[in-house]
């Protein structure tokens, strides 16, 4: 197969320490927008190929710097567990898109500061804190399901997948429901739009809104996460405005999109797996295991690290400054760790998947996300009879940094 990256001009964009045979055409692995093949199938097939490869840089609106792409869970785990060598500084570039320069906290902070921010924020998202939120989470899920159950159909993402986690997040953060549409619009602009202008507009929307929120909570702290952050102490001092922005920004970006994306993918699977639906309805105690298995089979996040010192990893020599792409999808679909990885098997044990990442940057909201996904499935299966995709409908998985479905048309008998 001819490889366009080996032309002299293309080769010149790739560091000389990268072996020719590991170079892949730019953008061909993760971000092939509009590709006919489901991203999960495409990524899964990479496990038949080399242990590590190098994705050439791409230009255009979704430009990506060149990066090593690790394929094995073992290597991805090793990278994520060593933040001193594989830094997440500057990971998202979201503040920079809006013309500002600070870190998203804690995800873009390396040790030892990272640990201090986690100690500060962990109590807000601890298993015990989430236990206390569960009644409210369940009531919200039940009321959204009740709103559509008599219709015999819905577009799931709009009716439930988005409003359920977003409204819970907004309540935790202390944001008024009236702001939801605006926040969703910026989120979509920042993360899912094809032009740089739209992404900048989203980034600037968030910046202005969150700067306003910092000022409001400084003037009058409230009993919510936004208020908690301005009152928090770190090494005996209050956080600076930029640090508060770092926390707010990460909470908003992570809180608006991730569980919504997972819900769409999980319910897409359920709509096409009627046998699993019926098993879970008959025995709801299986739902937590089903959620774990769907988190594994449909992991959504691809993230990056920057190499801080020359190091050997996955059998190649990486140099300081290199980028490394770590896909939780590739890790969760690695046949070396999960037998028959493309199959959904809720009795899989152990099921130590990587949907929430490895290492100290383990998803801060993982306990909340798990609870929301479990409660959503419990309430939905309890109230709605067997549902499937609407006749003739399709819900293709949209490729990107975060995999998702745009819409999921469901139907059931009433």
């Amino acid at each position: 197969m001819s490889d366009p990256t080996t032309t002299p001009e293309r080769r010149a964009q790739i560091p000389s320490h990268v072996p020719d045979h590991l170079v892949q055409p730019s953008g061909s692995i993760m971000y092939q927008a509009g590709a006919a093949k489901c991203p999960y199938d495409r990524l899964s097939e990479m496990h038949g190929g080399p242990r590590v490869l190098y994705r050439a840089p791409s230009s255009g609106p979704f430009s990506q710097p060149g990066a090593w792409v690790l394929t094995l869970a073992e290597d991805i785990r090793a990278v994520m567990q060593q933040p001193e060598i594989f830094s997440s500084k500057g990971l998202t570039q979201f503040p920079q898109l809006g013309g500002e320069h600070w870190d998203l906290i804690p995800i873009e902070v390396d040790p030892p500061m990272h640990g201090k921010y986690r100690v500060m924020l962990n109590p807000v998202f601890s298993p015990k804190a989430i236990d206390a939120l569960e009644p409210g989470i369940r009531a919200r899920a039940a009321s959204l399901v009740d709103g559509v159950v008599k219709d015999g159909q819905c577009e799931f993402v709009e009716a439930f997948g988005r409003p359920f986690p977003v409204s819970i997040f907004m309540q935790i953060m202390g944001l008024p429901d009236a702001d939801m549409d605006e926040l969703n619009e910026w989120e979509h602009g920042l993360l899912h739009s094809p032009t740089v202008a739209q992404r900048q507009a989203g980034a600037r929307g968030f910046l202005k809104y969150l700067r306003g929120l910092v000022a409001e909570r400084r003037a009058q702290p409230m009993d919510d996460l936004a208020g908690f952050t301005v009152l928090a102490e770190l090494d005996g001092r209050a956080l600076t405005d930029d640090e508060v922005m770092g926390v707010y920004y990460l909470m908003v970006v992570a809180g608006l999109d991730t569980v919504a994306a997972s819900l769409g993918l999980h319910f897409r699977h359920l709509a096409q797996d009627l046998e699993l639906q019926s098993r879970l309805r008959a025995d709801p105690s299986l739902i937590p295991d089903a959620v774990e298995e769907l988190l594994r089979r449909y992991s959504i996040v691809t993230t990056n690290r920057t190499v801080t010192q020359d190091v050997e990893m996955a059998g190649v020599a990486m140099k300081k400054g290199d980028k490394v792409t770590c896909s939780t999808i590739l890790a969760s679909l690695d046949p070396a760790e999960f037998e028959n990885p493309m199959a959904v098997d809720i009795s899989r044990s152990p099921n130590r998947h990587v949907a929430f990442s490895y290492g100290p940057h383990r998803c801060l909201g993982s306990h909340l996300a798990r609870r929301e996904l479990t409660v959503a499935m419990e309430e939905w299966l309890d109230r709605v009879p067997e549902f499937r995709m609407k006749d003739g409908a399709d819900a293709p998985v949209v490729p990107g940094q975060l995999l998702s479905v745009d819409a999921l048309p469901l139907a059931w008998s009433v």
């Binding site: 044990s349 152990p350 993982s366």
Partner: protein
């Protein structure tokens, strides 16, 4: 006591809390969901439960070793 020893690498534990999910009421986590237990010997009858918790850890932070003292 003849049994197994549970060794938790607290550097590696990042608070997934999956050991607890796999073996409820066996592992005790701290207030924010991290496993900070010191090296602990448990009788043989609890070996399976200890191993289930260890195998659930995405970080491989828990090791179960023979203890024959």
């Amino acid at each position: 006591m003849v049994g197994v020893k549970i060794l938790v690498d607290s550097e590696k534990c990042v608070g997934h809390a999956r050991c607890l999910a796999a073996a409820r009421e066996f592992f005790v986590l701290d207030d924010v969901g991290y496993n900070r237990m010191p090296p602990t010997v448990v009788p043989r009858e609890f070996e399976q439960m200890a191993r289930r918790g260890a195998q659930a850890c995405p970080e491989r932070a828990i090791e179960i070793v023979e203890d024959d003292h």
